[in-house]
Symmetry: C2
Subunit: 201 residues, 2 copies
Amino acid sequence: MSIKDSVTENLIKETAKKVFFVEGRFNATTQEIADAAGVNRTLVNYYFRSRDLLFEKVLVEGQQEFRASLEETINPAFTFKEKIGHFIDVWMAHSLKYPYLDAYLASQANSGNYLDKMHKSKSQEEEKKKAAFLKEIKLEMEKGTIPEMDPMQYMINLISMISYPLSMRPVLEKAFNLNKKNYAAILDGRKNAILKSLFKD
Amino acid sequence: MSIKDSVTENLIKETAKKVFFVEGRFNATTQEIADAAGVNRTLVNYYFRSRDLLFEKVLVEGQQEFRASLEETINPAFTFKEKIGHFIDVWMAHSLKYPYLDAYLASQANSGNYLDKMHKSKSQEEEKKKAAFLKEIKLEMEKGTIPEMDPMQYMINLISMISYPLSMRPVLEKAFNLNKKNYAAILDGRKNAILKSLFKD
DNA sequence: ATTTTGTTTAACAATTTTGTCAAACACAGA
DNA sequence: TCTGTGTTTGACAAAATTGTTAAACAAAAT
């Protein structure tokens, strides 16, 4: 992150994020992005040299922002249920901001080999926090407040129930015959529904 | 579905499905598909006229196959839990065959306006079955065997927990530092983990 | 006022991807 | 064998997308 980030450079970058992660248009061209940003397409090359470099930067930053969000997640002296609740809040807020981020990651992982560039700087700390969280889940299972299973599975259940309804929104809307308003109502109720499924009571 | 489906025509179509739905390469070119199928690219145009028409056909058929799978789902005199278990089996089997189908649907829904072509022939029957299933969920909640919530939310929880780990596989593998073998083990345990989260006991 | 620096633009070139067409091919039926 | 039909191929054209360059521009520094 250089201090001198040109306004235009940032505009292009943010617009690209919007197109990919908010609108979910995974194969947008540089022209489309430039149009969306209201700038000349050549500026994409001027600031990012190539289309791929822009995409890569956007992808990396998207992940960083995501992890930054999650930083504030596993912190304080909350009860376990409160922690999970907070986790849902934070993750949902971010998934609401960038509904298609993980789908984009998956698609890029498959198409190019962006997998290398993904998750470069996975710090030791993060690993420890994750392990600690899994251990906490296990503990809670022994206490009997949540159903017994591999803590990893529990984690995956949690993440799935948060993310899927957001990244598959248009599909689910069609499948269930819901309009925007209906679906918004559904999303409002997600947190409770998830908690109900994760806790015995 | 015409009776005379040329071998080559089918080969191209199935290969395209594989590239999109199995390998998750959403922006594959006609050349790449032709190569994967081992045929001359021109044949794509010969049989499907244009790239878009191929994509559309593949997309529609993908949905049809999916729904055909689900047909056998909501049938017999099973207990509710057995029904859900069976539902998981069927849906997982299909999601295992086409892990990226719904992600592809979502991405297409966003990029083009394929949404129109999606879900054309949603029969009355299907609607009724779906409604009946939701009612059955509600009934079960009143019996107290599953947590109380909007039945639609319950349904979404179910689908999310099935599909997400499959369509986001590469992302989750990275995020959790799992190799193919580890992840396969996780997938093996999914059904139980999902059932544990869906049923009070 | 004039250089300098960084930014923006338009015109152009290169590349990639798609679509068309005529010729070659295979093979069944007359 | 010859003809007809459908299939396959390669060469080419067209379109779309990306990348480059030189010139125009703006605003600050000298």
